[in-house]
Amino acid sequence: MEARLNTDKTDWEQFPYLDSADVISVQRGPEPGGAGGAYRAFGATLKGLRTTFARIIEGPVTIQYPEEKTPVYPRFRGRHKLHRFEDTGLEKCVGCSLCAAACPADCIRVVAQENDPANRVSAGERYAEVYEINLSRCIFCGYCEVACPFDAITMGHDYELSDYNRSDLIFTKEMLLAEPIDRTPLRREGE
């Protein structure tokens, strides 16, 4: 019990059953009030004033949202995108419906159709005649992206998805294939 501080005001004789190893001495701050208290309060006030003034020098950190957008990380899961092959322009999706099967929210609808060899839509045997994602149900878990054997669907970076109408949130294949109008800024290294 020797390690106890002088500021500790507990009467330890009252607790003979306490082992000294179990006793944690508490260092208390000075008592409030009095001239000393006023002096300390004055010093603390000056410190506080310095702290707040340093915030002015730092400058604002807010992002002016509609004009400036929060940058997202590369792995951010936003609105889905469907992809085409860059060289041939054919759709990567072959209408296998694995994404629909993997979807826990059951928001993907795929209707497959045989490819016409003269006028191919996708690279495989079949293609998705209908590919719809109901974004009002989607939970953005990214399982569709994982399930896809051809990397035909990926999660994009768009997060501004609100609309006035629920039916407008059912995104069709054309909408998912198209590039988003506003590109969401990507977070740079170290940002």
Binding site: T45, P60, Q64
Partner: protein
């Protein structure tokens, strides 16, 4: 030349006085909305954000939008309220703020025109009389609203008045003794050699702290502590009556800063030609108002008993000691 009722240092023709009062009134009423914006912007900067910047270019039209919104709202009166007093209270608060503007000197006599409303020989007492009167506005508002929150806020403002009015007066007394006059113009002129903030630093600090309490501003905004009392004495007010309380708060902040600048920062004194005097005065007042806002952004609200013990156990002894020491020094030197 008409001689006014009070004993004055200098008086002009009546029409000059009317023009002067209109100029001072309009000048301050243009400054007050700018202050509301400046406060919100600065508080924003103190918190790493921008503050209002949507209404107009960089948010400059925000005060206009606020005033239009308040003016368009219903001036609601609760059924339990006392109608006449309920209506008079906000007017009383604004009245006492505006009236005090009259004695604030923005410059000395130039070309036969004094750059102040009026130079009364009882300057400081005039200020105290009317700043105490504004508390009647708050008390009446709280009592006549017929609401417990308003009443609690009013009780607190009464307690604040008693605790801080005395030390505020004592804080100014040092300056009065050094200048040997109660007239604000003479007090500024007496600071020709050295601003009173140097010999009267204790008085300045006590006055500023009491000024925070006087204007009901953070950290002494107990009468309107929103987290516990909704809005204190103005809980039941709506529309422009509510707006007039906000206006009065900034007006009082201006007045207290102006008195502090006059007493401790040498009033209109400053380098440069004579026509810069009012500019120096306004610059000093704005600097003190910046300090008000800075303190508001920094300190949390005091508890009721802390407010009382600070007022009676720290401020009053300090102010009294300051007065005693000043009195001895003024007599000896």
């Amino acid at each position: 030349m008409t001689v006014p009722l009070a004993e004055v240092g200098f008086a002009e023709a009546t029409w000059i006085m009317v023009v002067k009062s209109v100029v001072i009134f309009l000048g301050v009423f243009i400054i007050v909305p700018v202050l509301t914006l400046a406060e919100r912007k600065l508080i924003g900067r103190f918190q790493n954000r921008y503050g209002p910047n949507r209404a107009g270019p960089v948010g400059l039209l925000q005060p206009l939008a606020d005033i239009l919104k308040l003016a368009g709202k219903e001036m609601f009166r609760p059924a339990a309220a006392v109608p006449l007093l309920f209506a008079i209270a906000p007017a009383l608060v604004i009245f006492s703020g505006i009236v005090t503007l009259a004695i604030i000197p923005f410059g000395n006599v130039k070309d036969g025109v004094g750059f102040y409303g009026i130079d009364v020989s009882i300057g400081v007492l005039y200020f105290f009389a009317f700043s105490s009167l504004s508390f009647y506005g708050l008390l009446l508002a709280g009592w006549s609203s017929g609401s417990k929150y308003s009443f609690l806020g009013a009780m607190r403002s009464a307690a604040q008045l008693i605790s801080y009015e005395v030390s505020m007066g004592l804080a100014l007394l040092g300056g009065v003794m050094m200048a040997g006059s109660l007239s604000l113009v003479s007090i500024v002129e007496a600071q020709d050699e050295i601003w009173y903030i140097v010999p009267q630093i204790v008085g300045f600090l006590v006055f500023m702290i009491a000024g925070f309490a006087e204007t009901n501003r953070a950290p002494f905004d107990l009468p309107e502590a929103d987290s516990e009392l909704v809005q204190g004495y103005m809980t039941e007010y709506g529309g422009m009556r509510f707006g007039s309380y906000l206006l009065a708060e900034y007006l009082e902040m201006f007045v207290v800063s102006a008195i502090a600048a006059t007493f401790f920062l040498g009033g209109w004194m400053g380098p440069g030609p004579g026509w810069l005097d009012p500019v120096w005065m306004v610059v000093k007042v704005l600097a003190l108002i910046f300090f008000f806002i800075w303190v508001r952004a920094t300190l949390p609200r005091l508890r009721y008993d802390q407010l009382m013990s600070l007022g009676w156990k720290v401020m009053l002894p300090l102010a009294t000691l300051n007065v005693l020491v000043t009195a001895v020094l003024v007599t000896v030197l």
